[in-house]
Every structure is written in structure tokens, then in C-alpha cells.
Symmetry: C2
Subunit: 140 residues, 2 copies
DNA sequence: ATACAATTTATAATTATTATGATTTGCCTT
DNA sequence: AAGGCAAATCATAATAATTATAAATTGTAT
């Protein structure tokens, strides 16, 4: 999670320009807990950046992802979501309301089991949990 | 994993017709360990079913999936893969050669941890592991 | 064997994402 | 502080997987 200044520095150090669009896209993502899609980001940015283009959002997300500044979340939905928290963590999705929340789990035992059973060198994993969130449990 | 006859019965009991196309699509999937995409199935079926249409493959997979006769595998690739093994199991993907293999892991502890940390009623989960398969380790 | 609803086929539509190219702009150099 | 240029933005077109549509065909109950 970087400040605007830290992101600008980081971009410069990697040979990229720190454009207002890039800073705004990252800031918008860093401010929310909702794991927005590219479209959600675009819609939120439009009021303050009327010239913002859809392709700028996509290109920016692609760059931030390559630089490991954001996570791509593929929870089996029609489009990707993004997360400015790049630390190791998982996601749980509510099957009623569609929200996606962060979750920190200990997957070391599972990785170990996977490595020994498969004989692969395990490099990473993606775990998505699905269920009913507390709020939706109440509504029922 | 059903035989042709069992699948025909099952389809009839659920109000569907047991067409040669449907039986062939399922049989093709059940015969392989490779977790093919719709396109791979189509290409494999074309020689023996020259009239087979792409949309029949898609519609058949959609129906088999709704009837819980196949699993949809979303390993972050550009298209879905399918698996005729519907029992609880995970998948591990080789980042060098792209192969996808089955893996049976004990996720009960992780589900329990997820439920207590998130307060969700956990219904299901999808876990994808990524690494280098034994064959690709040798090649290096 | 017939009839009819379900299915197949071919094609068009949809949707998320990526590519293209002309215009604009950040930023380095002076 | 201004100029120049590579890089970035914007608008639009292209791509690719999947889904929808509708006419022709076919499985199956009678």
C-alpha cells in the first residue's frame, strides 16, 4: 500500500512516468476494500477525471500487476477484480450478495501436502472460498 | 464417471434426450486425463463426428455442468477446462508446460479456519496450485 | 410410423480484454 | 524556463471465448 509520492518514486525508478491518471487509478484502488473491477474503477474515476479512458485503466492495471503492486482476483466471475494489498492472503466470496473479502489463512500445511503428493515444486496457489456472509445470513 | 448407458439413463430421467452428440462429448471427456477445453473437445470429436458443432459442445458442457456431471476448471487461463471427475479434488498446474493434474488434499482444516475467521457459512472452495511438474524439472 | 417438442447446426450477438495509431504530455537536457 | 522526444493517453478497432437466435433435423412417446 503506497502513498502517491511512494508510487511516483517507484514508477520513476522503473522507467515509467508518474501520470495523474496512474496515480489516481492506484489511489482509487488503495482506498477501497471492495476489490473493484476495471469497470468499477473507471466509473469511480470519471467524475474527477472526465477525460479518463477505459483503456488507460486497463493499461494501468496491467502495469501495476506486472510490477507486483496489485493482485488480480479471479473468483470465477465474468471479469477480474483487483486488490492493492499484495501480501499473501486469500478471498472469500458471498454467494448471495457477491461481496469479496480478504482472509488470511495458514496454507503452509496444504502446500506441503500438495508438494509431496504431486512431486511438483509448488510456487504459489490461489484459494477462493464461497459461502454466505454474516449480513446475508441475517437477512434470511 | 458414467458409462454411455448410465449417462443415457440419467439424461432420460432428467427429461433430456440422449443424443449421439451428448454421449460422444461426455465419453471424450471421460476418456482423458488432460482436462480439455471446449475447443479441445470439439477438435477431438470432429474426425468421428464431422457434423459436430461448436455450439453443441458448449451447450452440452453447460448442461452436464448444471447436472453436476462435470466440473468447470478455472485456473486463470483464457478458457475453461472440464473434468469428468466430480468428486472433491483440487488441481495443480505446471507453469512451464501448462498441464493440469488432479490432486486430492485435505482441506477440512482450512475450511474450518476460514469459517471461524470470516464468520461466513463456508459452502465450497476452489484451490489451484502452481508449480513445476516432475517432467519439466528434469528438462531444466 | 407419426408427430411434436427438444436438439443440432450455423451464424450472429455479446462482453471482457487487448491492440492500434494519432494526439498529447511528462520529464530530461540544456 | 523552454524545447524535444519518447512514452502515455484517448478513441476506436480487433480479438476471443462464450452465449443467444432461429431454421432444419431428430429422438422418443404414443
Amino acid at each position: 500500500m503506497l502513498t502517491k509520492e511512494q508510487l511516483a518514486d517507484f514508477l520513476h525508478k522503473n522507467g515509467y512516468k508518474a501520470t495523474p491518471q496512474r496515480l489516481a487509478v492506484y489511489e482509487c484502488l488503495a482506498q477501497t476494500q471492495e476489490h473493484p473491477t476495471a469497470e468499477m474503477l473507471y466509473e469511480r474515476l470519471l467524475p474527477s477525471y472526465p477525460s479518463m479512458s477505459f483503456s488507460t485503466v486497463y493499461k494501468t492495471m496491467d502495469m501495476l500487476h506486472r510490477l507486483n503492486l496489485v493482485k488480480r482476483i479471479n473468483a470465477g466471475e465474468e471479469s477480474f477484480r483487483y486488490d492493492a494489498d499484495t501480501g499473501a492472503h486469500e478471498h472469500i466470496c458471498c454467494t448471495k450478495c457477491g461481496r469479496v473479502e480478504d482472509l488470511r489463512l495458514d496454507l503452509a500445511p496444504v502446500r506441503k501436502e500438495a508438494g509431496s503428493k504431486s512431486q511438483y515444486d509448488v510456487q504459489s496457489q490461489e484459494l477462493y472460498l464461497y459461502g454466505v456472509c454474516p449480513a446475508c445470513k441475517m437477512k434470511k
